[in-house]
Symmetry: C2
Subunit: 395 residues, 2 copies
């Protein structure tokens, strides 16, 4: 059990905290670039309220709108041009995971002279670790990626169809200003995909981490139990503020380092999903809902006792009279039932992905984190054939 | 659910990490004051290893030894004199909670012109919030107070018999260098008191926090379950490194903000215990072992359902056929049985404290955090009579 942990982001959490955006931003800069995604923040009035708060605090603004889902490096470059031209000294991400991830890389690339793509990509030969970034403030409008309070960003290259990620110290937001009221208008399907994303962040560490992390196990189980309980409520009634709060809080702790401290895991399910969503514009959380159960059935065969613990502690299933593999399978079945209940797809056919590119996905998935033989890291490590097998089982 | 959270301390955790002390310290200063408590770090060879690491990294050192249990403001003043005279630019706390707490206040007081006692004391009329501090590096040799990764310090005034605390941003250590090997030589009784301290940090938030924190509930229960399981093992066999690791990790997360985020609690049990240990030199953890169960029986009468949840989730007790109060009492009984099993005192008579000063303790306990009527805050708020009643029940 040897590890380092540090998360310097200041979290300001609570309904109504959007009103603090101006004051908070003024601690870090005088001209903010406000990065947004689609039009939902404008339709909901959130954008106007954010701008009003900034104006009241004397912070000048310029907008960088239109960050797409699965954000592209071309959007990052567009943001960098704006930030430089307008002399922005602070970046505000007002949106979902895509907006936050793009904002982080824009903030770093604005201070880097080379090609922004240099800054992305574990696995790239010429990877330049971003040394510095403009101050970043995240204001999430969706509970899903956990990007609001961590140093990670996932960016796609539209030319090469590579989706890769960067995570480094300078990308920690200075402040995560998290107002769960902003998620009240998120539609049912996106709410469900977000819940799936949250749970998958936790299961990745839980099933792929090192042995001997019993406190982290309990933290992980606690987040999953609550993401299921409150996620169900948030999907059923989008206006349930308490449910939105709990799901938002689950999103944060799922990936801010608290649950996964010391687990030292590699996320194979994310790697496989990224390979899919680099080729098909599916929502990340929906892709995870398809890949994760298939992966779990595959991984359970090599470590049934771990999946049996999951079944027992998360779903309260009784171990009596069952071997580990039976209990493990019951737990995975219960998880799939939950995903279906909240309306997530659980097969590739539901999202229109066929088997034509299975070999390509398998190759792409293992591109970044692999062992000496090219196997995708995780528990167990996966050959390309293993990945194809998992994808076939998800058809 | 509105709150702020931020813990910028960098945690370096693991057996053998003491060897990194020099390199880590050199990032923050060139001349370190090494603060220590009794002679145990010298007997164990830890002090020499720390000094060798510092020397190898080119960090000059001066020592401030002899910080006593329940550290006094006079020791802080002594440390400040040394730090100034020797132009120290970084403070290393090599010891237990007392050493770490004193080091934090020394680091702040070294940069403050007035009386160091000004910097202590919520409740003091002329409290000066420490605005800055020398960089602090904590190297705990005991798993107990959680001081290694938080911004708090408890300091006693030997003249006035007031024991008070300060917690503010600048007191966060830059680095918590946590090497569980350093705790292998901690004797059985101190190990047990440490376990009790850890558990009490968690129960304070669990029983006195706001409603509606289901994820934090699970985190808290997870820490307590593991502190019991691994604490039992660490007490039984001090050389069990895995047990030492888990107890040390429990110590950190119990009070670094992760478990208690958003619970917004006031710790009445600590307030009562501080009143006792300001007058009697008992180990803080031992005092908590006496006060906490007595307080729990008192508090359970006003919120039995919460204590029933504790009984069920932490001790796995079955609720079948029982009302909440019965289940609550069974849980508290189980907790007392655990404390006795690991050798903690659970009555005042065991540590030689009579009832002569009960009224004084009650007054002192409510000095710092009280409502408009002078009642000690917590769930429920406690009048002086309530506090005396709890103390009587602990005789």
């Amino acid at each position: 059990m040897n590890f380092e942990a540090c998360n310097p982001t200041r979290l300001i959490f609570g309904a109504g905290t959007l009103a603090q955006l101006g004051e908070v931003t003024s601690r870090y800069g005088t001209k903010a670039m406000v990065v947004t995604g689609g039009n939902s923040v404008k339709r909901s009035g959130v954008f106007d309220r954010a701008m009003a708060s900034l104006k009241a605090a004397g912070v000048a603004t310029v907008e960088c709108s239109g960050i797409e889902p699965n954000p592209r490096i071309t959007s990052v470059k567009r943001g960098v041009d704006i930030a430089r031209r307008e002399n922005c000294d602070v970046v505000i991400a007002l949106g979902g995971g895509s907006t936050m991830d793009a904002s982080k890389v824009i903030a770093a690339a604005a201070l880097y002279d080379g090609d922004p793509w240099d800054l992305i990509g574990h696995g790239q030969e010429n990877w330049v670790i971003p040394p510095q970034a403009l101050p970043i403030i995240t204001v999430p409008t969706l509970a899903a990626t956990g990007s609001e309070m961590n140093a990670g960003a996932v960016i796609s290259n539209d030319e090469t169809k590579v989706k890769s990620f960067v995570s480094t110290e300078c990308l920690f937001p200075k402040v995560a200003l998290v107002d769960p009221e902003l998620t009240l208008t998120v539609p049912k399907d996106q709410t469900a995909y977000g819940v799936c994303d949250i749970i998958t962040h936790v299961t990745e560490g839980y099933f792929n981490g090192v042995n001997g992390t019993p406190i982290q196990d309990r933290f992980a189980e606690g987040v999953i139990i609550n993401a299921i309980e409150w996620g169900r409520k948030a999907v059923a009634d989008g206006n349930d503020l308490e449910a939105r709060e709990q799901v938002q809080w689950a999103s944060i702790v799922a990936l801010n380092g608290w649950v996964n401290a010391g687990t030292n895991f590699v996320p194979p399910v994310h790697m496989i999903e990224h390979a899919l969503s680099a080729h098909h514009d599916i929502t990340h959380g929906a892709g995870l809902a398809i890949v994760n159960p298939a992966w779990m059935r595959f991984a359970a065969t090599s470590r049934p006792e771990r999946f049996a613990q999951f079944a027992q502690r998360v779903f309260g299933l009784s171990p009596e009279g069952k071997d580990d593999m039976t209990l493990a399978t019951e737990g995975i079945d219960a998880y799939v039932a939950f995903l279906k209940e909240i309306g997530c797809p659980t097969t590739l056919s539901e999202v229109g992905i066929g088997d034509e590119l299975f070999e390509q996905y398998a190759k792409d998935a293992a591109l970044v984190v692999h062992d000496a033989d090219g196997n995708l890291l995780g528990r167990p490590a996966m050959s390309r054939d293993d990945i194809v097998e998992v994808l076939r089982s998800a058809q």
